[in-house]
Point group: C2
């Protein structure tokens, strides 16, 4: 370790590096957080890192893919070719300062530039994940992996396994350079790493932080902690513990970068006293600072006293701005006006439902109007969509209501994981127990309608199915692509502790596929939201036509199909 200095804090504290002179085998990695299309901002970071490397006598520095252009600007360049010219100029500018050093720079659209001693030597277009450099570039043969795929975090351990194998098989060191920071939906984990030619992990950079890393490809260096623990079980489990820190950091970085890169500062959200808005408030306060978060309690007639006091308590605990703004008066006037219109339409338009969700939705929409009003009236402030993933699957969220907003922090986290996250936050944040216990203990419900059976606000699980069961369906579909019958014929975790009649299980599965098929439209208008899991329904990764709602997810017998085709 004697040759390795950890430069993590170089740009904050000023380490004494005057006597450091990098020996051979020493390579630097610039693990930076680029902004898409902001060449000046990105180039400034790149140049600072290069200059530091030069001052240390380091002969090679590597930057992750898209470090100069930022991620996902392919389409921008197709429309605005001028932007690519501009990028080239910045590349030239970077070359100009690269005296006595080799810069290997993932610069734009998965293209890699090699700059040596002020000259742009080569550009590899459409680079593959693995690039083997020759002796001419770095002085020794190494493999560089530019993290073009699978760089988000949920499967970082699998990626590390693959890299280790690749190193061992080729008997060459492998350097894995990953971005950090979030671009809209994607929150990159960083954790750039080096494996020696035996496949042993000898260096790992910080997760979720920019870093100037100095590595020796032949000696063991610093292994920064990876906020991921491999889980043994391949079955669905309510024990999310191993993944909560990563989940928290992924979303926190996602919020922080979305706001910063959009030039926003503040968030306003409705605080219902329920789990979703509560967890969102904590995440926002941590990402943006408590002074930049405003929680509004907007009770209606259905809102319980407990919900109101939970919302207030949470805001006090967090120290965020909090106000109460009842919606009763607006609900009454709106309902009356709506009633007049519906009456007029009843005869001429026809087809009026006997029972509808109109009044439920009026409440959710007026609340969103309040929040958008605050956004309109107060600078640099956007409203937050608090929908979670279980609800997104079920379409259990109101259009222009709770599912609307400028950003959706938890749209890729299921309800049962949110419960676990809430408990984790109470234990692991510096300030303990900010989330009132009653929020974690009560059964979730939107408090938009009264359950005629109980006379109390309708619980979500009564309208849908137990969240534990629902979340296991989601887990099985996303991770194993299990079919209707595979799920029907295998035991769910929920069934271990609860007796579920076969009929009811079938009903729940039917309901899942039916509701999911009707929720497709809602998926298309979900605000930008941080991807947390693999294989979710975020529109930047998964596309399904809204008009494909008629898919039969069950299985049909071949003979029936043959008969159908024959008899047409």
């Amino acid at each position: 370790m004697s040759n390795i200095v950890d430069f993590d804090d170089y740009f904050n504290k000023s380490l004494d590096i005057r006597n450091f002179n990098a020996p051979k085998n020493i390579i630097a990695i610039g693990q930076i957080n680029p902004i898409s299309g902001d060449f000046q901002y990105n180039a400034e970071k790149i140049c600072r890192y290069i200059k530091l490397a030069i001052s240390l006598g380091i002969k090679t520095i590597i930057f992750p893919s898209n470090s100069l252009g930022g991620h996902f600007i392919e389409d921008i360049i197709k429309r605005h070719p001028q932007v690519e010219n501009e990028c080239k100029k910045w590349l030239n500018g970077i070359a100009e300062i690269s005296e006595g050093i080799t810069v290997i720079l993932g610069y734009i659209n998965n293209n890699i530039a090699v700059i040596r001693d002020k000259e742009l030597k080569e550009i590899y277009t459409e680079a593959k994940d693995f690039c083997i450099t020759d002796d001419k570039i770095t002085g020794s043969k190494i493999v560089i992996n530019f993290a073009l795929t699978e760089s988000k975090g949920a499967n970082i351990l699998d990626t590390h396994d693959k890299l280790s194998c690749a190193a061992k098989e080729n008997s060459l060191p492998v350097i894995y350079v990953n971005s950090v920071g979030a671009t809209d939906n994607i929150s990159y984990i960083g954790s750039s790493a080096v494996f020696d030619n035996n496949g042993e992990l000898i260096y790992r950079a910080k997760a979720f932080e920019e870093q100037f890393c100095v590595i020796d490809t032949e000696k063991k260096g610093i292994l920064h902690r990876l906020p991921v623990n491999r889980k043994n079980s391949e079955k669905f489990s309510l024990d999310y513990e191993y993944d909560l820190e990563r989940t928290y950091l992924t979303v926190k970085q996602g919020i922080k970068d979305y706001f910063a890169k959009c030039g926003l500062k503040r968030a306003v959200l409705g605080l219902s006293g329920g789990l979703d808005s509560t967890v969102c408030a904590v995440l926002l306060a941590d990402a943006l600072g408590k002074e930049n978060v405003c929680g509004i309690s907007m009770p209606s007639e259905i809102t319980s006293r407990e919900s109101k006091s939970d919302a207030k308590q949470l805001a006090e605990n967090l120290g965020i701005t909090f106000k109460e703004a009842p919606i009763k008066q607006m609900v009454d006037v709106t309902s009356e006006c709506f009633g007049d219109l519906f009456k007029k339409l009843e005869n001429s338009f026809g087809g009026r439902y006997e029972v509808s969700y109109t009044r439920d939705n009026i409440q959710a929409r007026l609340r969103a109007m309040y929040l958008y009003g605050v956004s309109n009236e107060f600078a640099s402030c956007i409203p937050i969509a608090t929908s979670d993933k279980s609800e997104a699957y079920m379409g259990y969220a109101t259009i222009n209501g709770d599912m609307s907003g400028g950003f959706a922090p938890i749209a890729d986290i299921t309800k049962t994981k949110l419960f676990a996250l809430a408990r984790w936050l109470n234990k692991n944040r510096e300030q303990k127990d900010v989330i009132p216990v009653s929020v974690i203990n009560k059964r979730p419900g939107a408090e938009l309608a009264i359950d005629p059976k109980t006379g109390k606000p309708l619980c979500a699980e009564d309208a849908l199915m137990p969240y534990e069961f629902l979340d296991e369906i989601i887990w099985r579909v996303e991770n194993y692509g299990e079919s209707y019958y595979e799920m029907l014929n295998s035991e769910f975790l929920y069934e271990k502790n609860n007796s579920v009649p076969a009929e009811e299980k079938r009903n729940w599965l039917d309901k899942f596929f039916r509701r999911m098929s009707s929720a497709l439209y809602k998926w298309t208008i979900l605000p930008p939201s941080i991807i947390v899991e693999q294989n979710g329904i975020n529109s930047s990764e998964y596309n399904q036509p809204v008009t494909s709602g008629r898919i039969n997810y069950k299985s049909t017998v071949q003979d029936e199909i043959n008969l159908f085709c024959k008899e047409i």
Copy 2:
């Protein structure tokens, strides 16, 4: 022509085909409109076409790509592998009935199946656009183009040119089989075509209609009309005439198929008396039937008497359901409640704007609430987002207001083209002049605020720039990828007839790129909308991170960049 029968209306009228017996060289094309994932529905169509071909003694029938699975189900299959098994069973079912015929079927994910005499002979995965069949398959050598790219309509003439060249170069007949119907955003034009081995167009199927086509690859057949006329000029023009029929049919099919394939029947929209909602209403009435369209006039204090009477007149002309539902009372109560909240927040949260769009947006959002209320209360009915393309580029639309809805019919049509379309509709629909002339003659404006200079409702062009100029910027960016300076230094059509000071032109261009960069978020939550033009901003074709708003679209001097990099 003696051997060719036009079977267009076969399934409607019952033609006498008992004596028809297809000679050699006769091939059938099944130009069908599939539903994504609905194998039974698609297989039924395919089987009916195959059976008809068999009954005619035809030895070969070709279906366009994705005819069995529908378009864009790749991601569905990745998540639900069971769906692919199901598709295979239906393929087997189709094979079972294919006695004495060769079926070349684009079935799923751009895979092509060849079935001959009840046997599944071959599957071509990842088929390219051009497939040359050998003598074994069709009895003679032909080229089949499965329209895997560029099949939407806006560039159908270019496609035909390429196909003609390909036929000539290879001295082989080319058969172009295209889908018809819309899948969410994409409205396929149909117009399957055949070119003989000299490159001459010898057959063209109907546009925007399903068709069973019988073609002779050696003889000239029927050339159905293509609703596209090639425009000579490569410059921006306000003469949209050549493209209005295609635009109309593209959107009409898009609306019709979205509703039908989603199991919807009816639409409700706000009728403001303005151009956007007026054109939407006509398109909806034509696509869904006037009995299925409900227009609501929702005047506020700012709404002019003319706007109200124009809305009513249009509804009467079209024969759609029409009601008036003023929003004044709701605006007043909401504004009062909002005022209370803002006052409370002023001190604790800070950063309140002196001037805001809050009241403008309250009006737009309450109107959307009305429409969503109708959607909640009346069966099979969704609200319509009436935003146009010029507004989408400028972000000149209210979130959860006029830009929200279940479907956005005109989001890919610019304002100047909409004016032309309105005039065209008045001339070319069976029922003439349904659109009141005053709608076409007045200057567009949202009527959400009063212009302090004139004391009248604010006009959009005063807030933005002349639509003719704006739409030319959009045209230049989308068609030529022109840069800021290229536009600044060349003459716009608008400048031919109006004197524009250089300063003002710069301001307008600056405003365009500034407003566009702030509108990126709005693009992500735009409801499903029909793509009309090439290279638009529809999220199914164009992706730009919301966080890329800081792109500098102008050009920087290399020396300045070098200096910047040096001085860091």
